[in-house]
């Protein structure tokens, strides 16, 4: 029967067991290898009723499928954003650090000068981002890197998670210190985060964060820029840094979050 399909009549006869054993065997041999004919083998009304009856009877006895969550778009975002526990740790860190520093500043401005907040707050998302991916901090890095959503995509999801918490902290810090405007604080925050991601496509993310944070400390602490001037009139600089970092990130997108570890 190779090359030819089984006719509808023969199929119907086979289904109703009207064929001889020899014919039935050759039909079965063909059905084994032919999807089209298998599809044509529609169950009769009687068979359909038996199947429905069995399904109904089994329904009560089968274990319930547990708490399977409906796979909605919102669920997808929740799973992808909130998955890595390091992300949660990074959230906690930024809230705690900013909270403590703000408190310290409010209690005694002389003990804790405003530039300490300037040094720490914009670097919070850097630390958070570095903590949320990479072979050192993500226990599932190896498996995640081999998935289509791995690499840059999942790194951006996690960065988004970090920024949603770190940016309000940055804004709070800006308001408390009174140096410049909150927007002017968010720009270096964004630039440093983008810089960490871009550098993280070249070297281990934790090292990238260390380099970026170190560079930030130099800019804040060492003259000639030093202090409040970093955020006062430097918007073009930070936008440029962000732009360069995004270009690097795009060019090296295949390497982000997939470093050979």
């Amino acid at each position: 029967m190779t090359g030819e399909h089984v006719s509808a009549q023969v199929l119907a006869a086979y289904a109703e067991e009207r064929l001889t054993d020899g014919d039935a065997e050759s039909v079965e041999a063909h059905l084994d290898s032919c999807d089209a004919c298998r599809a044509g083998l529609a169950p009769s009304e009687a068979v359909r009723r038996v199947v429905a009856g069995v399904a109904l009877a089994l329904d009560d006895r089968l274990s319930t499928p547990g708490r399977v969550r409906p796979a909605t778009g919102w669920r997808r975002v929740r799973v992808l954003v909130g998955a890595a526990p390091a992300v949660r740790a990074a959230w906690l860190l930024s809230v705690l650090v900013t909270g403590l520093l703000t408190l310290g500043l409010a209690v005694s401005p002389r003990m804790l000068p405003p530039w300490v907040l300037l040094l720490v707050a914009p670097a919070l998302p850097v630390v958070g981002t570095a903590l949320s991916y990479g072979p050192r901090t993500d226990p599932l890095h190896e498996v995640v890197a081999g998935t289509p959503q791995g690499g840059l995509r999942i790194v951006l999801w996690r960065t988004l998670a970090v920024l949603t918490v770190a940016m309000p902290a940055v804004v709070l810090a800006a308001v408390v210190t009174g140096i410049s405007t909150p927007l002017m604080w968010m720009l270096p925050g964004a630039a440093l985060t983008a810089g960490t991601l871009a550098l993280g496509s070249l070297i281990e993310p934790t090292y990238a964060a260390a380099v970026v944070a170190g560079a930030w400390a130099l800019v804040v602490l060492v003259p000639p820029v030093a202090g409040s001037a970093v955020v006062a009139a430097s918007a073009p600089v930070w936008l440029a840094v962000t732009g360069v970092a995004v270009v690097v990130l795009y060019a090296r997108r295949e390497r982000v979050g997939r470093q050979a570890g």
Binding site: A71, V79, P85, P139, Q149
Partner: protein, 251 residues
């Protein structure tokens, strides 16, 4: 049909060459990847999992070149991978863990809830599906790892030392699962337990010192061994005989 095809593969960590001039072709079925520790099995698995970029060579999965950005994304959707060592997020339940990878592998949303439970059921963990990962034993963790690897019904399934930590009964069940999965997917199982291969694999590849030194059926590996070779079973004697032969040639 060939679904994994590797040619002229070379991988090195720094100056140390781990895989050299390796070529391998794999079709549907269960394949065993054998070799001594440090032979390059895990490195080959990582290259096939598209996690490690080779220095040189062409790797095709399901017809897609892995150095092609669009192709590799397509291939990754149909890929399942269980690394030898993998961590977990302690607060995740088994179900959340498997669901996470269903989303990461870009499965159609409508299929995810059922696929997640089916994968957990196939590894026999359905009664622990809502337990947190940190409360699982080593063998259960390994099975949860297998569940995440099969959740997307992969066409290419890579399992690196999947039987480590499983008790004898679970290993027998696992071999049955392997044979089922091998009906319509390329399943590559790396192991240093030669008996696992004899029991579950239709074909065997043997890697030594970064080179492929044997590819064939388990019976052929058994036939390579003689009474004088060391080993407790026929296939172990075949294994040591092939290794010895390969090392003499390379000298």
């Amino acid at each position: 049909m060939t679904t994994i095809s590797v040619a002229d593969l070379r991988v090195s960590y720094g100056k140390r060459v781990v895989l050299d001039d390796l070529a391998i072709e794999l079709g549907v079925g269960v394949h065993g990847l054998l070799g001594p520790n440090g032979a390059g099995k895990t490195t080959l698995m990582r290259v096939l999992a598209t996690v490690l970029r080779p220095d040189r060579g062409e790797v095709r999965l399901l017809g897609h070149r892995t150095d092609d950005r669009v192709g590799v994304r397509q291939a990754r959707r149909r890929l399942g991978y269980l690394p030898q060592a993998f961590g977990f997020y302690p607060r995740f339940t088994v179900r959340e863990f498997v669901e996470y990878f269903a989303w990461l592998r870009e499965m159609p949303a409508a299929r995810i809830p059922l696929a997640v439970d089916r994968a957990i059921e196939r590894v026999g963990l359905l009664d622990r599906a809502d337990d947190r990962m940190k409360h699982l034993s080593g063998g259960m963790l390994r099975r949860a790892g297998i569940a995440q690897a099969i959740v997307n019904d992969p066409r290419v399934l890579l399992l690196d030392e999947p039987t480590a930590g499983l008790d004898p009964e679970q290993r027998v069940e696992f071999r049955t699962l392997l044979r089922e999965l091998g009906l319509d997917a390329v399943v590559l199982v790396s192991t240093h337990l030669v008996e696992d291969v004899a029991a579950a694999c239709a074909r065997v590849s043997l890697v030594d010192d970064g080179r492929l030194v044997f590819a064939g059926r388990p019976e052929e590996l058994i036939a390579a061994g003689g009474d004088g070779d060391s080993g407790d079973s026929p296939i172990e004697r075949g294994y040591t005989a092939v290794l010895r032969g390969a090392r003499q040639v390379s000298r």
